[in-house]
């Protein structure tokens, strides 16, 4: 009964003060909506690989290497015999799994369908059990044991054969070799660190001459997963690993001087692998980004609650009378606390409903921005429990202070004709305003800095010019027709230059040692690049010493090497005169390649990573395709049409596949852009919410000051001087917020920037801009409200009280 009575009076009082109801509802619902979006994002990020049933007991082996010229590095690729030896050595290893992307398969063919597949993988038979793969057609036992056997996804089956039934037991040609389809698996989720739609038996390559390295400990290319009986055994295995490495690996004399290993839980792979190189993964997240967003969402929610608290406190003068009167009539304090909390409960409930409505509207937008497919699923009990929790928490956070504050009034105060808000509560209100603006200023500053960094990356001289270029992928043996391809492409005047190369960035992705032909046989770990004489010119990479490759010189095919500056620096050379390697890239020590030139360091990977030493060889067999530079005047569509037609003429057996440089670049920085976009939204939102709160608060405070304003006006004070007095008060608060926000956000942004090896400095300019923006917005808000009051007839104001 009492509840309805309270509800009645609180709802009516809210409806009467529509502006504040609106501010509260708008603020809370937007805050809640933003919070829910982030919760969905965080849940999504944290639930990668959840489909793997035994995930808790699965680990990935990570190596810690120490490479001359590179230093310590964690790598997720391992040696061929590792899985077998770990299983033999440690009884707690129940199963092992090796996987390796099948990059060298350039064509997949059935009848007249000829395509290049990008999600093919070699795998051990244990993959089905370990990664919970369900077989939808075919005998699920003894899969991928035979050489040249395949398991393909339903989608792939339909793509090539029209149906899973037709695909089963059929043959697919991979690089023109027949492979038998043993079974059809369900389409795999992309919500995983690993993704594949064609699995090839590991036995197809094991023991073949090309993959002879798989029998040795000197080369790392496979990812090794272990399934343990129980996850606690990982610690024991890790303890025994140094001895294992000594016994099994160092004893083989395969060139290891330093090697450590550890087991990374499967659940950590997606989010906690930023420090690991050579991860053959489909998707990688970042635990830090996730936690940053969690903090931001909590802050936004807090801003919304603070608005609520502030407005409640400001309204308190009006409500004090009700509280006092109810107490006179016998209400006790708890029942009044209950009244105010129930009020905030009702408002929060409405706000949550509004937030859910808003989400329905904006989710498509958010999904396209994040590349996700979030939906509001009310059938999920967790979702509903979450909303309920949110309801309780927000109502308590925003309702309890006002409740205890307001219920404190003694009934006697009502007889004295209302109360003025106490000094203490106005301090609280002010610190809450400072808090809100501190968050907004911090976010604005962070956006400006992130923006600077992204612009810096986009504008920075990478040492390589990616504009107007693309890369075409060769199939097996296509390199033999490089000259013909060059000629026929260059017939088109819009095509400026064509060069055989490892990739558009000039390096192959692999890392390995070069040995210097000196007394110490100095070793340097480098990135290999295989390029022809046109590559450096095509991509505007500057040769700073020596000469370029020259096909007219017989020795240049395989016999010479060009280094980048970093390599030369690491070697401590002042020049390259007479310098030689002691073997070629493929380890042929009958030749000692001359170091013929040095190129200026350029960023073959993103600005996040340091430029490692690199060595470039002229080895046409290792070219994975051609890099093409075209004229800026020509349209991309025309260029692509022309190239594709030429390609089909020359390489009827290789599917046409190209990648444009800008695409490759933007993929590299995609996550940064994503972060920036999200940040922009959240900063705007938090600024908006803070202003909303400020507007509400000033409105109420000015209402209370109506009498003062009236008296001042009656005594002849000008509108502008009254407004100035009011504005001054708030500007001081915003300034204070800036002082608090800036050092904190500098710390935060420094951590973001630390991730880049090449980064912008903290800019004073951005600090000033962030504070000025907040000041301006606060100024406009206050002036808007204060001006209205100050302009009104002083008589009205005096009558008011």
């Amino acid at each position: 009964m009492l509840f309805f009575n309270y509800l009645n009076s609180s709802l009516r009082s809210l409806v009467r003060q529509k502006t504040y109801l609106l501010i509260n509802l708008l603020g809370l619902s937007m805050g809640i909506a933003a919070y829910l979006v982030i919760v969905m994002y965080v849940t999504y990020e944290k639930s990668f690989d959840n489909h793997i049933e035994q995930g808790n007991n699965i680990f990935r082996v990570v190596e810690v290497q120490n490479e001359p010229g590179v230093g310590n590095q964690h790598v997720a690729i391992t040696m061929g015999p590792l899985a077998r030896e770990l299983k033999n050595t440690f009884p707690s290893v129940k199963e092992t799994l090796r996987v390796m992307p099948a990059y060298q398969i350039a064509s997949v063919e059935y009848n007249n369908k000829l395509l290049r597949e990008t999600n093919m993988m070699y795998a051990d038979p244990s993959i089905f059990n370990m990664f919970s793969i369900k077989i939808s057609l075919g005998n699920p036992n003894k899969l991928l044991e035979e050489p040249r056997s395949l398991v393909i996804s339903e989608d792939v089956a339909i793509k090539y054969f029209g149906s899973a039934e037709k695909a089963l037991n059929s043959m697919l040609l991979l690089n023109n070799m027949p492979y038998r389809i043993e079974a059809i698996m369900e389409n795999q989720t992309k919500h995983s660190h690993i993704y594949f739609d064609i699995l090839i038996s590991m036995s197809s390559i094991e023991g073949t001459p090309e993959f002879e390295w798989m029998d040795h400990w000197g080369s790392n290319s496979l990812v090794t997963y272990l399934l343990l009986d129980n996850k606690d055994q990982a610690k024991e295995i890790e303890k025994a690993l140094p001895q294992f490495i000594k016994d099994k690996i160092f004893s083989q004399n395969e060139g290891w001087e330093f090697l450590e290993m550890y087991l990374q839980p499967l659940d950590d792979i997606y989010l906690k692998s930023k420090h690991i190189k050579f991860q053959m993964v489909y998707a990688a997240g970042d635990a830090r980004t996730v936690s940053i967003f969690m903090v931001i969402s909590a802050l936004i929610l807090l801003i919304a609650c603070v608005n609520y608290i502030n407005i409640s406190l400001a309204r308190s003068v009006k409500q004090a009378r009700e509280v006092g009167m109810r107490k006179v009539l016998g209400a006790d304090r708890m029942s009044l606390v209950y009244r105010f909390i129930s009020e905030s409960l009702v408002i929060t409930l409405i706000a949550i409903l509004l937030a859910v409505g808003m989400l329905e509207l904006i989710l498509p937008e958010i999904n396209s921005m994040l590349g996700t497919s979030f939906v509001l699923d009310f059938r999920k009990p967790l979702f509903n429990i979450g909303l309920l929790l949110l309801l309780v928490i927000i109502s308590l956070v925003s309702g309890s202070y006002p409740a205890f504050y307001l219920s404190r009034y003694q009934p006697i105060s009502v007889l004295k004709g209302g109360i003025k808000s106490s000094v203490k509560s106005s301090y609280l209100s002010k610190s809450l305003v400072v808090f809100q603006f501190a968050i907004s200023i911090g976010l604005i500053f962070s956006i400006l800095m992130i923006n600077d960094q992204i612009r810096y990356i986009q504008k920075k001289d990478l040492g390589i010019t990616y504009s107007n270029s693309l890369f075409l992928f060769f199939g097996q043996n296509d390199f033999k027709k490089l000259d013909v391809l060059k000629q026929s492409l260059l017939e088109n005047p819009a095509i400026r230059s064509v060069s055989g190369s490892s990739f558009i960035n000039g390096v192959s992705g692999s890392q390995g040692p070069i040995f210097i032909n000196d007394t110490a046989n100095t070793k340097l770990t480098v990135r290999y690049g295989f390029v022809d004489e046109d590559f450096f010119k095509t991509m505007n990479i500057e040769l700073i010493e020596g000469r370029n490759f020259d096909p007219t010189i017989h020795r240049d095919s395989a016999g010479v090497v060009i280094l980048n500056q970093s390599a030369v620096k690491k070697l401590g050379w002042s020049d390259i005169n007479g310098k030689k390697l002691s073997a070629t890239a493929d380890g042929d020590s009958t030749m000692q390649p001359d170091v013929i030139g040095v190129i200026r360091d350029y960023h073959y990977y993103s600005l996040r990573s340091v430029i490692e030493p690199a060595a470039y060889f002229y080895v046409p067999e290792m070219f994975r395709g051609v890099t093409i530079k075209y004229s800026a005047q020509e349209s991309r569509a025309n260029i692509e049409k022309f190239i594709e037609s030429k390609w089909k003429e020359l390489f009827p057996k290789t599917p046409y596949q190209s990648v444009f440089a800008d695409q490759y670049i933007s993929d590299t920085y995609k996550s940064d852009l994503k972060i920036r976009n999200l940040f922009v939204y959240f900063a705007i939102l938090s600024m908006f919410l803070s202003c909303l709160g400020l507007y509400g608060l000033t409105s109420l405070l000015i209402e209370q000051k109506t009498k003062t304003i009236g008296i001042k006006r009656a005594l002849g004070s000008s509108v502008s001087s009254i407004v100035f007095d009011l504005v001054k008060e708030y500007l001081v608060l915003v300034g204070l917020a800036g002082l608090i926000a800036i050092p904190l956000s500098i710390m935060f942004i420094q951590r973001f920037l630390d991730d880049y090896s090449y980064r912008v400095e903290i800019s004073f300019y951005n600090i000033v801009v962030a504070i000025l923006m907040a000041v301006t917005i606060a100024f406009i808000t206050v002036v808007f409200k204060a001006g209205k009051t100050a302009n009104s007839n002083p008589l009205e104001a005096l009558k008011y009280e």
């Binding site: 009076s9 009167m325 006179v328 016998g330």
Partner: protein, 239 residues
């Protein structure tokens, strides 16, 4: 008729701020019998309202004893005071103090809710009171839709709905014109006739004449107590 409603012995009230100590009441001793209609008068700042607050159990004295219906209550906590208050005392204020967000019916019902009365009993009582105060037709109105006189009528209704033994009125006509003031005074007098004890603070000699006794306060002390006999003829209530 001859039981003692309340009695104060050397009642003192001192207000302290950081620097100033103000004695609002100084050794106030008096006694009020059940069924009396007493007016407290005195200039602004003499301590009238402070006395009324203590009598009404809204505040505790700084010293002295206060017997309310035979019970010494001067050291009671707010919770204990609230408990006595809601059962025994009705309040009428100068500025009405109706809750703007509740309508007439709900405002009058409020004390009964705090008494924990059942809803059917409340309905009976509120309707009887609405009838008695002749404001049945206003029951759905909100305070801001009523004139001052009507609001005070509602406030009086709220004060009497729980059948309190004592009604405290703090300048009940202070915000009303003379016609509406008259009406309210007649209401109070009528209530007194039916047995309710009434204590009223007022500035108005005219209003004070409705009472049987006037207590005059000056600088926190009683300076004069004279017994009078209330107006014999009660004018008929008009709406």
């Amino acid at each position: 008729m001859n039981t003692t409603m309340l009695k104060t012995v050397n009642l003192t009230k001192i207000f302290r701020t950081d620097e100033v100590e103000t004695t609002a009441l100084h050794n106030v001793s008096f006694q009020i019998q059940s069924g009396e209609f007493v007016a407290i008068m005195g200039p602004s700042g003499c301590g009238k309202s402070t006395l009324l607050n203590i009598i009404g159990l809204l505040d505790n004295p700084s010293g002295g004893d206060y017997y309310f219906m035979g019970q010494e209550v001067s050291k009671f906590t707010e919770k204990m005071r609230a408990n006595i208050r809601k059962k025994n005392i009705g309040f009428v204020f100068q500025n009405f103090n109706l809750i703007d967000e509740l309508n007439v019916y709900e405002n009058i019902e409020l004390p009964l809710i705090y008494l924990g009365m059942s809803s059917s009993e409340r309905k009976k009582r509120v309707e009887a009171t609405l009838e008695q105060m002749q404001i049945m037709h206003r029951r759905k109105h909100f305070p801001l839709q009523l004139s001052g006189g009507q609001q005070q009528r509602v406030a009086v209704a709220r004060a009497v709905v729980a059948n309190p033994h004592l009604i405290l009125a703090d300048e009940p006509t202070g915000n009303l014109d003379s016609a509406h003031g008259e009406e309210v005074m007649n209401l109070l007098a009528q209530l007194n006739q039916s047995g309710t004890t009434i204590i009223m603070v007022t500035h108005s000699q005219h209003d004070a004449e409705y009472s049987q006794r006037i207590v005059r306060l000056f600088d926190g002390q009683i300076v004069n107590e004279n017994i009078r006999f209330g107006k014999p003829e009660i004018s008929v209530l008009d709406s």
